[in-house]
Symmetry: T
Subunit: 152 residues, 12 copies
């Protein structure tokens, strides 16, 4: 089983996870989430890197740089999920399989959070489990990559 | 860690999983999915039951009977996801936490599959991982129930 | 004053009335509602029968069987109010005057509860009085039938 | 059982009831409706007053004056049902429970009659029974007030 | 040829005609318009009365009072054209043939002026000729009434 | 008072006027309408020509040929009123003042007849008076042209 | 020419054909329609079976059971045409060519009857010929199957 | 059984049938279709004429000329199906029963092909059977005409 | 610095300010607001008059009477903000600069409060500061008027 | 480099180019545009023909005749760009690469000019450069054809 | 009265204020605005800092850094007002009261400027007073903060 | 002929041109495009500079810096074409003529690519010619600038 290289990208305001609107997003901070993901990926024989930015352009840059370097992406694009065609284009450009995750249940919130511009391109989507969305998403991503992109 | 009682409900046409439009739904049959879920739940100290029906009314009946018997539901409502307010009402009536799963990436398909009537009530949603959507969803459901409905 | 034969049809999840979301639907159970309706109809010189089902098809069957047997229908179709063209067609097919009732104020709830497919065919509509919606609706139905379908 | 003070408000063109489009509204005149309501309220130990105006502003004035004087309102706002946010605001301002009634089945008529701006605030709604909508509505209103605003 | 009794109703802000936004409405004042209409109607053997109000309710009252008194109405309802279902109902209630006129070309202005609530009930509509809309509308109204409501 | 040259254009199916759906369009034939218009224009010191075609392109050709020849147009574009941007462009291209007329009350018919593509460019619009729409429209057109395009 | 096995499925309320709203659906009963279809199919060297149900779930069950048994389906899904994604999915799952028929002209009726969820998957659609829609549809179905799914 | 006179009208681009996008429209040419229709009509004791044009106006002219000459029309209006109110008006003007056919399944194609302006007026509609749509449509048309416009 | 004459107009239900839904509108009464505005205007060398009405027509009358008398208007039109084209027309007719204010944050409330018909004509808009919206709006109005309508 | 045969088609009202609304379309006449295009195509070793019509049907005829004769089309369809599905179908039927041009910037004009029915099929689109749109479009067309339909 | 710390954030293109489209935005430069705000805040015993960026991400960063440092924000987000859910989320995350201001009257401009994503969260909104929007907004912000977030 | 200074701005993901989705965007890299543009501009006596960024803010900064330095802009804004009001505002702020280009035919792709926020302000638009869109756009830009912004 070859070693997979995985990149986690957290979008805008996710650096505040844990302190930000805890009624919606819970109290687990981002560094603890990243730690959980690293431990999980080590246990699965994978290498994992994490990145957060509030800048749409910086996220696009990071996705482009991932080309031919990373095998899969785990993305929580935050608000850019709903507004950034440019990030969608970056994902289509680099052709790396990715999983989309959301901490809160976006379908129980404002209408403008119900539509994701990147979901149609995703290998899988996990929504609403709190920080567990990340760990479930990572497991799903690894499963997809190990299966060669085919559903088992 | 108390033993959880879990009910899996498969909606219309999911009895054909594996043979039905394999380009979209993969080749894994429903009995194998149920088996995977049972093994996974045993490993987690849970009891799991599976149910499939093509009848909206039968699914409502089953949800109502689950009240005070099951601790959590894992639901793939198939096409009723998009049309059944009655199933939504049943879920609200019994107040059992549930996770919604979809085998295919519904956001990459027809517009009428993009809206779920039950999603706003779900404890979590898993979409597009093929049969793995079920196993990830089950893990997420157990995590939610063990955490007492709180995100960890 | 001839004796009228009346049929009450309760749609999906109304069997849970009294225990289901009591903040919305109150605490009076369905059997007590049926009892109230029977007493009221006896007092008015009518015969009344009650039926509940979670199955759209079973409700259609029941409406069809009512043809030439019952003089009027009292309907709380629950969620099928908003989605079932088939029940609307059944009502149009049997041509029995009916009254539509709702326990909760559907206009104070989600948008998808604001539209009734059967309302344009109804002899009258009663909404939001709690279980009293049924008794008011029954009184209205009897008045309509006694007046020969004409408003007095 | 305390005596309730009730106010009936008839909106625009309801002074023509009985002569106005009798195919839609029937042939019972407004004074006879008011008489029926008075008799019914006396029988229930209530005091009832009636008011009609074609002026939106006059209806708002009357609602405001009802504050702390009347226990409940029975409203047929006619066309203002569909257009007057100002009357809605008046009702919210005085916080008196009210029942909304319509003589004709508004759902069987033009689209612009299908939406009521005041319905979400109503204690109950009665539609389409002809003049009986008023008497059923009044019974419902009294029931609601006697139950302290709670559904029984 | 029997003498016809005609009523002209000018809606809100038409009392300012001539001084109000002359680029849109021209410089002819309302009294001159009324004079023109009276002369024209005398010449046609008709009796004509004029009324203006900024109050929706007052316009409804005036329409109701016209019942069985006037043979035809010439209406420029101004802004109430687009918002008043209550005036539409008054017109339907009294069943007097009417012609709708507008001084300006409402279709060359804001979107909210493109829809008339009363037009579907009108015997004819004249738009955009400046004050001549009134005189053309009056001629058309008389023609319609003389023809017994039939197109010749 | 200079002699005006006027062109009447009748659109598709108006050649059938009088025999076509008489309940909607009346029983007066097109030749009689043209005759009425000619007499009226002679009486007003004008020269008038009439043209009918079922072909959108032929109507555009005719409008273009009218440039610098005719002083005003009287148009009943029939169904092309609602669909032809090309005719609208032709009218804008030749810059000849025109009046739009309709025999029937288009606002009392199907939704797709409620919108006119040429109305925003018209000097005036007359709708629903039967064949009198033409004569009123012609009077209005002459008045507009005599006033030099200014409302009097 | 091989013998074809064909299944006719009648949806909700079609068991009332002949007695149901005869102005819309005609007076021919369902058993006579079935008889006509059987005779026609015998004449064409085919075997034909008929099924009617008011239950969406039962129709799905029947479609699934048809897999690998029937060569073609003739469907009049009644009201489920417009609301059942689940039946559409069943049809896609079994991959049997089908023809959709409607007795009445659905495009001349309410807006909600203008959209068919199954039409995009149909081999052909026949609408509005009364019971002849069935016989024409059957002929078309046989032609399509005999031509191997290719248009001739 | 009296001899019926039937007119077939093919709209724009149908002269290219057989060579035009054969994946969508098949390879049968228009002359062969016309031949098939003639043979079929002869066999049914009817006289049939065929007409094709790319010009909306020419189609309207042809429909008008058919008045009192032909007993029924078989129409494939191609793209004008979706855009021509003028052809709809022509059909309403001549009051000849007609059947609408389409070679391809328009509901499986672009959204703008899903709406037909003439369908609400049709005696029947046949869609998607390839050239067989014409022969089925002709059979249906003859059946409708022989039955005197009544469904049998 | 010339003395400015200013008129404050309060729309429907604002006479109840202070007692009306205090969670939304606060507890400051209208007379205290008017007093604050008078003191502020005196301090700025202005004369200020206040007017409140629940009648749309009375507000139009008042705006018309302000013509050539007042230099500026401070308007809180309450619910008429969202429904009254007639008040908009009155404001356009008198051409007096005005500032629009709202006590509550209308954008945090129902959708129908998000659109103002008069805002496009306003010199400035102040929303959501509670009664301070009035004092800020008055300061803004005076600044606009002193600057001759130009932004400084 | 083989000689290319190119056809330019100008739609409705483009024969008036130069005199028509010069503020929008400029002052260059169509004959000068055609001359420019011919010179440009000669310089590129191509043969070019020009055609203008106000008739939708004539444009369709011309496109059909171009099949197997011309290698590429340069189209300014004017208003038919926005309304003609029939021309779109003609273009799809003949499968000749084409470039769409517009003289004015249609996106800076009315909403109904923002949508082109043929753009999705075009090899390229040039908008808003005045008559230069034609010459740029022609260059682009030749480049596309020389490159064998592939982008270089 | 405690000293308040206030942060002013100017969004994209506001660095060009004074030179940018002066007909819309006036001729006062941003440095002068900042100066006015500083003087005003000193006079009110507050400390004020100003920040401008064209980068959505930089604005989010700045809002996040303001947490627990500033007491209130004065925001003119320019175009990001209408498109940035990410900035809205940042504001919700830091829970600092803010006032939204706009120099121009956005409601008198393009439709896409009529909707603000942050307005529902604002303590107050000031629109259209030119640079005075800032000074009025600052006064309002200080008033809100001094009143402890309560309307006075 | 004065020397023009031109700036080319490439938006997000255009740095990947040539490798990114070659089926849509072709195989020519951005550096080769820039080279082609430079050669072309030298040949036309112009100076040309190129800039690419994935950051919306950086593009706004660059546009602002171009003010009074560059005579014209050639823009391919990629995904920001459809979402960035801020870039539109920057373009309006600097008042430099610009041409908008797109490599792919955006009208043949997803709906969200059909609307450009900057197109209404452009001097010209070139779409779908592959990299030739740039060279055609540059030629068009130079022609527009040389003509002083007037169409020739």
């Amino acid at each position: 089983m070859s070693q997979l290289k995985l990149l986690v990208i957290h979008g805008p305001n996710l650096n505040l996870l844990g302190s930000r609107e805890p009624g919606i997003y819970g109290t687990t901070g981002l560094s603890r989430v990243d730690k959980m993901l690293e431990e999980l990926s080590v246990g699965q024989g994978c290498v994992l890197e994490c990145f957060q930015s509030n800048h749409e352009g910086a996220i696009i840059d990071r996705i482009q740089q991932a080309k031919a370097v990373f095998d899969g992406l785990l993305l929580n694009l935050g608000a850019y999920t709903h507004t950034s065609i440019a990030i969608r284009d970056a994902l289509a450009s680099v052709s790396i399989p990715f999983v989309e995750v959301h901490v809160s249940n976006v379908y129980a919130r404002e209408d403008f959070r119900h539509h994701s511009l990147v979901a149609p391109l995703a290998s899988g989507i996990v929504v609403g489990f709190g920080p567990s969305s990340y760990t479930l998403g990572l497991q799903g991503l690894i499963a997809v990559l190990r299966a060669g992109g085919e559903h088992v």
